[in-house]
Symmetry: C2
Subunit: 309 residues, 2 copies
Amino acid sequence: MAYPTRVKLVDVGPRDGLQNEKQPVPAAVKIELVHRLQDAGLKEIEVTSFVSPKWVPQMADNAEVMAGIRRQPGVRYSVLVPNMKGFEAALASKPDEIVVFGAASEAFSQRNINCSIAESMERFAPVVAAARANGIYVRGAISVAVGCPYQGEVSPAGVELVARLMKEIGVQHCGVADTIGVGTPRKVQAAMEAALKHYALDDISGHFHDTYGMALVNTAACLEMGIWQYDASVAGLGGCPYAKGATGNVATEDVVYMLHGMGIATGIDLDKLIDAGKYISDFLDRKPNSRAATAILNKRNNEACAVPS
Amino acid sequence: MAYPTRVKLVDVGPRDGLQNEKQPVPAAVKIELVHRLQDAGLKEIEVTSFVSPKWVPQMADNAEVMAGIRRQPGVRYSVLVPNMKGFEAALASKPDEIVVFGAASEAFSQRNINCSIAESMERFAPVVAAARANGIYVRGAISVAVGCPYQGEVSPAGVELVARLMKEIGVQHCGVADTIGVGTPRKVQAAMEAALKHYALDDISGHFHDTYGMALVNTAACLEMGIWQYDASVAGLGGCPYAKGATGNVATEDVVYMLHGMGIATGIDLDKLIDAGKYISDFLDRKPNSRAATAILNKRNNEACAVPS
């Protein structure tokens, strides 16, 4: 199959990214980050989560952030909800989309949410029904789709099971996530093929972590299958909770650099995106965790230095 | 075409890598690094260069390093030579292979070696003839094969020209190098196709820099063409001389992690390779510039911490 000519990227930096950063970020900075992302051309942004602040204090300002965003027509704002209580709290913020999640490994499901994969989907069923009754799109995420920190290798059968259960409860989109970044092209393609047994090509996305440096090569492997939707996190926000100091989410800048180089349109202005990544990285007092952003920012600085004084 | 089942990696860390590190490295450390690389299973190592120490003081110990290596049967030791004077100096060290180089961009050729592409090849002709007369294999490298810091985009025609000229003067192997790391899959494939007009598939290799994070995706794109030889640099040794603080050579560890994950054999023991990278990185007082090594070293540390005391 030929590469898609256009790719849609979902920036998960404000939620998935900032949730895994130690430093607390004020609501105003999160809002400004969302504004900069949409100005750069992002058409979908995972803004926050409605999880108990006891578990995720970084997202306690969820309603404030959602209320503060100057919404742009054509942009979809999504929030993560873990259960009905979270959904009810999210509803007042009028998200365009909610994200629910299941694990492709029983060990991960048990350790993370204290129930089996099947039980987790049963718990989500009323949430999905309520969201759809309210006209809210439901995205599902399958975590640890190729490898699990507790059980090691994850078979495509695990992915297929979650995809089937998600489909049965009415989840509209299936995101396949390599949560710990151990995947390589063939394994990731096998996981995608498992998801494709229950979801159409247009309803599937990839979510890759760059922990072992594999995120882009896995993205390219999925592009070859025609998959045209991917999550990414500006400035590579969010470390890896399973390997301290290691890289987590792939940087949106790196994905955009690759896609544009391949002649695949994203609608994103890479320079503005790099500025958005620099904005939040400056706030966090670190460098963007993106090789493309690093190289381009260096180039900008060198050119600036080269101007005769 | 199916992926190759086996890949040969050339570690260029001791030469291309250390040449671009600011900190001087004593000969004994370089020798130990070569020993660790061959113990890890590398079958070809670019050891040093015979360039004037006025230009490259880091390689002034070339003869000492070559003399100090405990050579292993089946391992090929290569050195870079810029001209006949360098070749004559190298000869006493009995390299298995010499590396000569040309640029795919006229601008780069002029700025770097003060002559045109065609002139540079004329100058190499007697070196190549002398090497082959001495039974030394001759590898050619085409630098800036997809992008040039001075002229920007480089067309496949530039690559084809150098490949043709190299072939004409008797260069046996053609390495296609994305010296500044700006390439993306389709551009890199086009450069490879240009080289394939003059060299057989078995006589071509890829040399990718990870400056923009594209090295692995470019490697995978070439694997799809059947190309099975690649350069890489342990611990990502060697920065990018054209963008300060940016990444240069792709880390051998990252390439090996990807290949093994894809079921492609390399003959390399990844754990030993990571140890070799840690050895030289500790000496340079920095972390290995490899995502796979970072993740695996983190995992080792976390497991070590988890042992009950």
